[in-house]
Point group: C2
Chain length 394, copies 2
C-alpha cells in the first residue's frame, strides 16, 4: 500500500466545522455534579506535569493528608481513584470480595442496586435487605440481619442521592466487628458536607466522589480503608480480577514506594487538592453546619409554599432534598423551564421515583443562603405556571 | 453520642496550613503526559454542567464525531472512557474475553506485559510471542503464530512507549479475519500523531489516551470498536465481570439512548472536545507530517552530537525517540539537571531499559521545531558536564 493511496482514503469529507468548545453557565442544584469552586477550576487548568515529577509527588501527599482530614481518619491507604464515584465503588467490591464470599447489602435506593449488580459480577454470594425508597434502616434491623447472614462485608449507602435519605451509621461498625465483617460505606453524597467519622464510627472501607461536597468537577473518587481492610486484602487467595482498580498496585504508587501504576489524571488531582484545601480552611464543623442550616432554610421555604418533603425530617439529607411533585403540576416542564429560562438545574427522581419527586442539591460550593433564596423565589413565582391545565397554553 | 462529643473528636490538630495549589511550569518532552494546548486548558476550566444536560449531550456527539475522524473510522461505538489509557486497555480485555478463551499477545515492551497481566486476571488462555525491546514483529511472524494458536483475540501495541518502536500494522487485520480472530490495537502513543487507519487496516478494537497526540491532560481514554467486535460482545455467555468498563452499559449512555451509567468527567470531556477540534482543524495529514518532520530533525541533531538511537530507523516512532545513554554519562543526573535547572522533562527507560536509554517525546502540541531546537541546544551545551568522571565535581 503506497502513501498516496492512504492520503486519498482519509475519512474527512463529512466533517463539519466545529466552533470553540463552549457550555452555557448553569447553577447546578440537582443531584450532582455541583458547581465547582472557581479557585478549583483555576487549579484544574494549570499545565500538566509528569506523574513521577517530585512536585507532583508532593501534591499527592498533600491530597492524602487533606483527604484523611475530610474523612476524619488516620488510614494509611487514603487516595483518590482515577475515575468517577462508581470506580471506587467497584474497587471496594473487586478488592474485598472473592468468589462465593457473602456480602450483605442494605438497599434503600438506586445506588444499592448498583452495589448488588457489581457484587454479582464479582461472583459474590449476594444477600440483600430492603427498605422503601425514602426510609432508613434501624440499627436493630441491621444487627439482626448481620447476625443471621454472617457476611464478610456489610455495605450501606450513607447518603442516598436517589431518595434524599441520610442513613444513621453510628453503632453499625461495632456490630460488624463483633461479627467479623467489614463495614463498607458509600459516602458519595456525604463526604465534605455531612457529619462523617471514618475512624470513630469504625468504618473499614469508604468511597466518595469529587463533584459534590468537595466542590470539584467529577472525575476522581476518594477512597479510604483501614488496617482491617488491608488485612483482608493481603489474605486474598486469588489475584484481584481488576487491574485498573487493584488497590495493592494503586497503593504502591500512592504509598511510600511511588511505583508507577497508571498515568495519573494530574489536572484532576490539582483540582481536588484545591477543593480539599478550601474545605480544610473553612473547617469541617463549619461546613457541616452550613449544609444543615441551608437545607433547613430550604425545607422551611418549600413548606411555606405548600410543598411536601419526601423524607421524614429526622432522616433528611442536608446535601439533597427530595420534594414531592404536586399532583397538579407538570414536574418535567417546570424542571426544563428552570434550566432553559433560568439556567438552574434541579433533578428528576430516579427509578420508581421518576416523575414523583424533584431532587434539589445544596452541595459544597453551592450550599449557600443566596442559592436557597434564588430557588425559593423561582418556586414562588414560576411553579404556578406549570399546573397541568395551564401548562399546555404556557 | 451527642454532638458535643463529636466536635471534640475532630481530627484536625496536626493539619498544617496549605498554600494555594501550584505546580512549576514544565516542558514535557518525556513519554507522556505531554503539555496540553492552552486552548484545551481553557476549555477544561469551564464550569461543569449536568451529564444529562442537552448542551452536554451535544458536546458528547461532537466528541464522538471528532474521535471517528481521528481514528479514521465509521464505528458507531466510539467514545472516550472515563479513566486514563489503561482503563480502556482493560475494557478491551474485560469485554471481549471470557474465561478460558485464547488471546495471543505480541509483546515487545512494557505495555505488552500489562496486557498479559490484565488478560490473566480475566482468566484468558494467554499466549505470548516476544521480541527484544527495540524491535518490531514481521507480518510473517504474526501470521505464523495466529495460524498456529488460533486465538479469539490478537493484541499488539502500535507505538511502544517503552522502546520507541512503531509496529507496522498493515496486513494483520486480513490475517485476523481469515482466522476468525479480533484484532486489538494499543494506540496510546499513536492516535492523533502517527498514521493510523482503523477501518482501512481492519482493526476491530483500539484504545488510546488523551495526554499525547490529543494535547489534553491525562484522564480520558478514547476507544473504538467495529461491528465484528459488537457481535462478539453481544454473544457473550457471561456478564462482563467489570461494571465501570462494561461497554454495553457505556454504549447506552454514549449511544442514542443516553441512559445514565456513571457521572461523566464532564470537564475532561470539554478538554478532549477542544483537543480534537484543534486536531481536526490542522488536519490529520498535516499532523502526521509534522510529527515525522520534527522527529527526523531530532534524530539528525542527536546523531550529529554523537549520540545513537536505540531503534533501527525504519521502525522509529515519531512521537517517542529512544536514545542510548553513552556509557560515560550519568543519565539520571543529566535528566534531573534538565528538569530542575531547565524545566524540561525527558524520560528514563522502563524495565530492562532503565538507565540504558532516555525517552524523548514530541507529541501533539509539543511536537514543534522550536522544542527540538531547545532540546538539541541543551544536549549540546549541558551533556558534557555529566560524563561520569566529572559529575562528582559538578
Amino acid at each position: 500500500m503506497t502513501d498516496s493511496k492512504l492520503v486519498s482514503s482519509l475519512i474527512e469529507d463529512n466533517l463539519p466545522n466545529f466552533s470553540n468548545t463552549f457550555v452555557p453557565t448553569r447553577l447546578l442544584l440537582g443531584p450532582g455534579p455541583s458547581n465547582a469552586n472557581p479557585e478549583v477550576l483555576k487549579a484544574l487548568s494549570l499545565n500538566p506535569i509528569g506523574h513521577l515529577d517530585e512536585a507532583y509527588l508532593e501534591l499527592m501527599s498533600d491530597v492524602q493528608k487533606l483527604l484523611r482530614y475530610s474523612w476524619q481518619c488516620n488510614n494509611r491507604v487514603t487516595l483518590p481513584m482515577s475515575g468517577t464515584g462508581s470506580a471506587a465503588m467497584e474497587a471496594s467490591i473487586a478488592n474485598f470480595i472473592e468468589e462465593g464470599e457473602k456480602i450483605l447489602i442494605a438497599k434503600k435506593g438506586y445506588f444499592g442496586d448498583r452495589l448488588i449488580d457489581m457484587a454479582s459480577r464479582y461472583k459474590a454470594n449476594v444477600n440483600v435487605i430492603e427498605k422503601n425508597w425514602g426510609e432508613a434502616f434501624s440499627l436493630e434491623e441491621i444487627e439482626f440481619e448481620i447476625e443471621k447472614i454472617k457476611p464478610s462485608i456489610f455495605a450501606i449507602v450513607h447518603a442516598e442521592t436517589s431518595t434524599g435519605v441520610l442513613q444513621p451509621l453510628e453503632g453499625i461498625g461495632e456490630i460488624c466487628r463483633k461479627n467479623n465483617c467489614l463495614f463498607l460505606v458509600d459516602a458519595v453524597t456525604s463526604l465534605g458536607a455531612v457529619e462523617l467519622f471514618i475512624d470513630k464510627w469504625q468504618i473499614d472501607l469508604a468511597y466518595s466522589c469529587s463533584q459534590k461536597g468537595l466542590s470539584c468537577p467529577p472525575g476522581l473518587s476518594p477512597f479510604t480503608m483501614n488496617e482491617r481492610a488491608e488485612e483482608k486484602l493481603k489474605n486474598r487467595k486469588s489475584k484481584v480480577p481488576n487491574w485498573y482498580l487493584d488497590l495493592s498496585l494503586l497503593n504502591k504508587y500512592w504509598g511510600s514506594d511511588r511505583v508507577y501504576h497508571h498515568t495519573a489524571p494530574v489536572n484532576m488531582n490539582y483540582a481536588i487538592r484545591e477543593g480539599l484545601r478550601i474545605l480544610a480552611k473553612e473547617g469541617l464543623r463549619n461546613i457541616w453546619d452550613r449544609h444543615l442550616v441551608n437545607s433547613q432554610k430550604l425545607y422551611k421555604g418549600l413548606t411555606e409554599l405548600g410543598l411536601e418533603m419526601h423524607v421524614a425530617e429526622q432522616f433528611r439529607l442536608p446535601t439533597l432534598t427530595t420534594v414531592k411533585i404536586p399532583s397538579d403540576v407538570d414536574g418535567d416542564a417546570f424542571r426544563n423551564h428552570l434550566l432553559k429560562n433560568h439556567g438552574i438545574e434541579i433533578g428528576n427522581g430516579l427509578g420508581t421515583l421518576s416523575g414523583k419527586i424533584w431532587r434539589i442539591g445544596l452541595m459544597g460550593y453551592n450550599s449557600s443562603s443566596e442559592n436557597v433564596d434564588k430557588l425559593l423565589n423561582l418556586f414562588d413565582t414560576e411553579l404556578k405556571k406549570f399546573t397541568i391545565f395551564q401548562s399546555a397554553t404556557f
